[in-house]
């Protein structure tokens, strides 16, 4: 897990609860974590210390996620930082437009990615690792399998159940 410890992740979310939650999840997975309340705040943090990945909320006061991203794109150094968009608004009127814009402009191509709330810790970590180009923590013990199945079941829909069965089948 040494590879993980070297990585610093910036969590940008205006909601302190989510921020704390994500921070705890990432810390549990062994990452260094910085936090910011909005885009402006995040920029300050990035200037202080360039993170390896940014976990980004889209809808925030002062400076939203899209604005922050476009700001980062202008800086050749920062534009290479991978990011994960964490949003509850991918499909509602608050965030749909921003989200569709990101998709349309192909900003969300690998390694960048997105994850919708509610966030399952295991899924979140998986995405983060993917984005960082780290190996999946996968098939290492039943505890992990248990967590993954539980996570899938929590958001059980027909598709998700099938996905869960697939995991079990592995």
């Amino acid at each position: 897990m040494d590879d993980v410890k070297k990585k610093t992740i910036l969590v940008v979310d205006d909601e302190p609860d989510i921020q704390l939650f994500l921070k705890t999840v990432l810390e549990d997975a062994g990452f260094n974590v910085m936090a910011a309340n909005n885009g402006k705040h995040a920029l300050e943090r990035i200037k202080e210390c360039k993170p390896d990945l940014i976990s980004l909320d889209l809808v925030m006061p002062k400076m939203g996620g899209v604005k922050l991203l476009s700001y980062l794109q202008k800086n050749p150094e920062w534009s290479k930082i991978p990011f994960i968009v964490v949003t509850a608004h991918a499909h509602d009127e608050l965030g749909r437009e921003d989200f569709m814009k990101l998709k349309a402009e192909k900003v969300l191509l690998s390694p960048h990615s997105y994850i919708e709330k509610p966030i399952m810790p295991s899924e979140y970590i998986e995405k983060v690792r993917e984005a960082l180009g780290l190996e999946a923590v996968g098939n290492s013990g039943t505890e992990d399998l248990k967590t993954r199945v539980r996570d899938k079941l929590k958001i059980a829909t027909k598709d998700k159940l099938q996905e869960a069965l697939k995991v079990l089948g592995e």
Binding site: E15, L20, F21, D28, G64, E93, L94
Partner: protein, 753 residues
């Protein structure tokens, strides 16, 4: 030589004009012209005349030659053509004489000199004598006239002896060639005054010179008897008219020596004629006299003014510009039966405009029991006719409007009986027309509030809502206006215009309901989203607590617990707000003073605002009419806006944060406005202002339902919410209520009339 000299010489020579003409080898007319002074006497004629005079005189007396009289020196004498031709007594006649050493260039110049010369004097005496004799002749009477004595001693004397001359009812004057009245009868002198020896123009007309158009002179010239109409002045100086017969009187040789003028006084006739002509021309109708060939033989000025001076020879041409006789010809009817006929006709004036006239055709003169002329008197009724037609058109137009408008119209007369009940009214009320018009009083149909307003003296009333009862007794909701009808300040009835608003009311409530449902739908969606977030918070909290416990990190556990607590609180506040939002769908609208709502808000917030270091400006218009509003709900709305404004100020960097709260009414639009110079909104935020659960206030503050609730309440009042905002500069939120869209107050609901 002037005409006087010429005449004298002729008289001296005792020649008639005719003989004189023969003698001089010229025409009689020329001689007359010379004597009248109409033509200048030419030099050769003058020489001729003087020569003849001298030749005649030399028979009687011998004239001395000029050189003797002038004592001409020998050397000069021998060079003078008078000496050469041995014509010393005719030296003035010969050109080129050199009297006093001078030869004159032409005859006129020479004669000017010669006339003063003593050689010429005997000749001058000859005709001077003749002139003198002519002038004296007035007293001597006969000397100038050959046989002229006859006038005095002949016929006129004879007339006088019979008193005929004075008895005839005509003024008679005898005028000589000098235009002197040499005799006149008594009647003449009674009429024109004494005339002894005066010139005719003096006596007849009081003129000093001959008349421009002198009939006497014409008759003197050609001997033709003339009749003329003259205007002169009588003995008293009054204007008079007379008819003059001018006849020549000839002497034995056929020369016209005198003129006899017989005049008849027609002053009275002319006056009457003028009167009739004035009436004829100026009477306000067209008068024409038409003969049996339908030709217009006379027309008056009014006629000519309208139909043209020479509009055509036949009546049908002049009146109607047509080529054939009219089908219904009043003149023809008169010619047929000799009675008066009236008829209404249409013709065309000189500009082609239509003329409508009432014509009276009447027989004018009859011969052998047959009408010879018809006089047509036509009164122009074009204006009346046009007016009538316009009136008819206007009446028809009104009728069509009343019949086809979608607005119901019911009117009654001054006795209160309904006289207008249009199809739209019938459609709404279903009373059969024949049971309403002229049958029942308006009171039976009119709404009570209309009647009472009229009784109170209002001339026009307008009610947004009222109620009528239809034939079956059902209530029909209407909007109406009514007018008390007056003509010259006298009451002549009342009329009401109304529209069935049951459909409109239904549509209105449907729209409001749809808007409400949409809002509810959005809210539910938002709620689900909100709950999802809360759930997320709860799960996250649990995770953090677990993680803290696993790590043995109490701080983290505490943070997790706080998170759980926060989210549980959030759920409860959601539920409260949501209940508030979804609270009863009916408003409790009462007649409320909008100003009071505003002052309540000011009282509620002024301390909070002051404590926050924000300036609070209020601009509240007093005396706005009460409006049907749910005061509590409106209060909530404004409170939301003020609270938002405070927050916007608090998060902004503005050093002079200000909130301005105003209330005003414009064009029936009651408007509350909250303006701040706080943080403002960017485009992204503006788009999401009315979205449920959208908040920029960070976690824990605001649920994102405030503006949504505000909008819902305002919509339920039929009003609207609008805002303008600029990031960094501030926002204005405005809620407006259009009076005529406000709900009915409970009072109005209970007493709709």
């Amino acid at each position: 030589m002037d005409s006087k000299e010429f005449l004298s010489i002729r008289l001296n020579l005792k020649k008639t004009q005719k003989e004189m003409a023969e003698l001089l080898g010229t025409s009689l007319r020329s001689i007359q012209s010379f004597e009248q002074g109409w033509r200048k006497i030419p030099n050769e004629t003058e020489r001729q005349v003087l020569y003849v005079l001298v030749m005649r005189s030399t028979k009687e007396q011998s004239l001395k030659p000029c050189w003797e009289l002038e004592r001409c020196p020998q050397d000069k004498k021998e060079h003078c053509p008078a000496w050469e031709l041995d014509s010393g007594h005719l030296c003035w006649f010969i050109n080129g004489t050199i009297c006093k050493g001078r030869a004159y260039s032409d005859w006129s110049e020479k004669m000017e000199f010669c006339r003063e010369c003593q050689v010429f004097q005997p000749i001058k005496q000859l005709y001077d004598r003749a002139i003198r004799r002519d002038q004296d002749g007035l007293n001597e009477g006969q000397s100038l006239f050959y046989g002229g004595d006859e006038i005095k001693e002949g016929k006129s004397e004879k007339w006088r002896s019979f008193d005929l001359f004075d008895q005839v009812p005509t003024s008679i004057a005898i005028i000589d060639r000098k235009y002197r009245i040499v005799d006149a009868n008594k009647r003449f002198e009674d009429t024109f005054g004494a005339c002894n020896g005066k010139k005719c123009f003096e006596v007849y007309k009081g003129r000093k010179r001959r008349c421009r158009h002198c009939v006497a002179s014409e008759t003197f010239m050609d001997g033709v008897t003339r009749v003329s109409r003259e205007q002169g002045q009588d003995i008293k100086g009054n204007l008079n008219h007379y008819l003059v017969h001018t006849s020549p009187y000839r002497d034995l040789e056929g020369n016209i020596t005198h003129i006899i003028e017989m005049s008849t006084d027609i002053t009275e006739k002319v006056r009457v004629q003028n009167e009739y002509m004035t009436i004829f021309d100026n009477v306000p109708c067209y008068i024409t006299v038409i003969d049996r060939n339908f030709k217009v033989v006379k027309s008056n000025r009014q006629f000519q003014k309208t139909f043209g001076k020479d509009p055509g020879t036949h009546c049908f041409e002049s009146y109607k510009k047509q080529k054939d006789i009219c089908e219904e010809c009043p003149a023809m009817a008169v010619f047929r039966d000799g009675k008066t006929h009236n008829s209404l006709q249409e013709g065309y004036d000189k500009k082609g405009g239509k003329v409508v006239y009432m014509v009276t055709a009447t027989p004018y003169s009859k011969e052998d029991g047959q009408v010879k002329y018809v006089i047509e008197m036509a009164i122009d009724v074009t204006q009346t006719f046009l007016l009538e037609r316009h009136l008819k058109e206007a009446r028809e137009f009104h009728q069509i409007m009343i019949q086809s408008t979608l607005t119901g119209i019911i009117a009654d007369n001054k006795d209160g009986i309904i006289n207008i009940y249009n199809p739209s009214a019938k459609k709404m009320l279903n009373y059969p027309t024949n049971k309403v018009v002229n049958k029942i009083p308006g009171e039976k149909l009119y709404p009570r509030n209309f009647l009472s307003a009229i009784e109170e003296g209002d001339d026009t009333v307008s009610f947004r809502e009222g109620e009528l009862t239809d034939y079956k007794g059902n209530k029909v909701p209407i909007a109406f206006s009514g007018v008390r009808l007056k003509k010259d300040n006298e009451y002549i009835g009342k009329v009401m215009f109304f529209q069935d608003i049951s459909k409109i009311k239904q549509l209105e409530s449907e729209i409001i309901e749809a808007e409400r449902l949409a809002a509810v739908g959005q809210t539910v969606a938002g709620l689900a989203h909100g709950i999802k977030n809360v759930l997320m918070g709860l799960e996250g909290g649990m995770y953090v607590v677990n993680s803290g416990m696993n790590r043995g990190n109490n701080e983290l556990v505490k943070q997790g617990w706080d998170m759980l607590q926060n989210n549980i609180e959030k759920i409860s506040s959601f539920v409260k707000e949501f209940l508030n939002f979804a609270r009863g769908t009916t408003l409790k609208a009462e007649l409320t003073d909008p100003y009071i709502i505003a002052t309540d808000i000011v009282d509620l917030y002024k301390d909070t605002i002051a404590q926050s270091g924000i300036r609070f400006i209020t601009k509240l218009e007093e005396g706005i009419d009460k409006a049907a509003m749910d005061a509590k709900a409106i209060h909530t709305c404004i409170a939301n806006l003020i609270s938002n404004a405070i927050d916007a100020c608090l998060v902004s960097d503005n050093k002079n944060p200000t909130i301005e709260f105003s209330l005003f009414e414009k064009d029936g639009n009651i408007c509350y406005e909250v303006k701040d110079n706080g943080f403002g909104m960017d485009y992204e935020v503006k788009k999401k202002v009315f979205t449920s659960f959208f908040t920029t206030k960070g976690s824990g503050q605001g649920t994102g339902l405030g503006l949504l609730t505000t909008r819902k309440i305002v919509h339920e009042h039929g009003g609207k919410v609008s805002f303008e905002s600029t990031l960094g500069k501030g926002s204005v939120f405005r809620i407006e209520f259009l009076r005529n869209r406000l709900p009915l107050s409970s009072e109005e609901k209970n007493n709709p009339l």
